[in-house]
Symmetry: D3
Subunit: 64 residues, 6 copies
């Protein structure tokens, strides 16, 4: 604790995941004033057929 | 925002996912009075070996 | 299970909450083909100072 | 309801999952005084490349 | 990590919360084989007007 | 979507919340390459009697 959960699309590039975790952690350290080791980040990758925006699946928006 | 997260069993039929997103979004639009585009739905599919009900995994209930 | 979690703004009107739970449950019953009693809905109300959209707190957007 | 969600590393051994669900449910039954059948447990398995601790992905810590 | 989130009704008795955290943590330590200090438990208390079961708010079930 | 949820202790200072939302959003924009307006941040404040670390409530750790 604190924990940060990111619900987003799949991320292919491992370096993007590294950047995400590094920068989100740095922000949390600054705001909460807690040691870096206490910050946990969970990256949740959601397939486009499992996400709806505006009543439509992302997968259907992409095929338009 | 608003966001709707559904934790349920796997859904094989893509049309079921379409229906889920369409109807959940319609309900949220009516209740919150916000534009359709602001509503995000996340479908979370849980394998039967990762869900417990009444202290038992679903996978064990199904094999009885 | 299935569980539906709605993250949204505060809802003052109890009847809106009743409508939300009734309609989200009806949709889940239709899509999953499971008994009504298995569907749980959690309404999460978020204060406008705890929600950010586009990098800004909602509370700041409203005072513009 | 109540629902218990566990965000952890992957669990290979099905008996570990059985134990997790059985014991978490027993605890919830004792504390809430509700029937066993009302307790739902969701096990969420997170790949080591999707978890960050202290600003670093678990996958990078393991290769050190 | 691992993190355990419990979504349940309000808990008045602080000792019940202590018991919940102690026992859930003990179970996680046994199953994951990780040090006690890594286990985080979040207790989420939900007002009965914000929980629906079977299409009805808990608050309505209680007044029947 | 993407959505970022931060589970942490209460934050008294509104400017800290502003900073949290601004910086988390900036990171998400860079990593996902999506427009700022699509990023939603939810700040979840947890009372110290509702968080357990190492099997103990935070509230008990503070009174030691």
């Amino acid at each position: 604790m604190p924990n940060i959960i990111i619900e987003g699309p799949p991320i292919q590039d491992l370096n993007k995941k590294r950047q995400l975790v590094r920068e989100l952690t740095d922000t949390a350290v600054k705001v909460f004033g807690l040691p870096k080791e206490t910050i946990v980040v969970l990256i949740k990758e959601n397939a486009p057929e499992n996400v709806g925006v505006g009543g439509e699946l992302i997968i259907d928006r992409h095929t338009k």
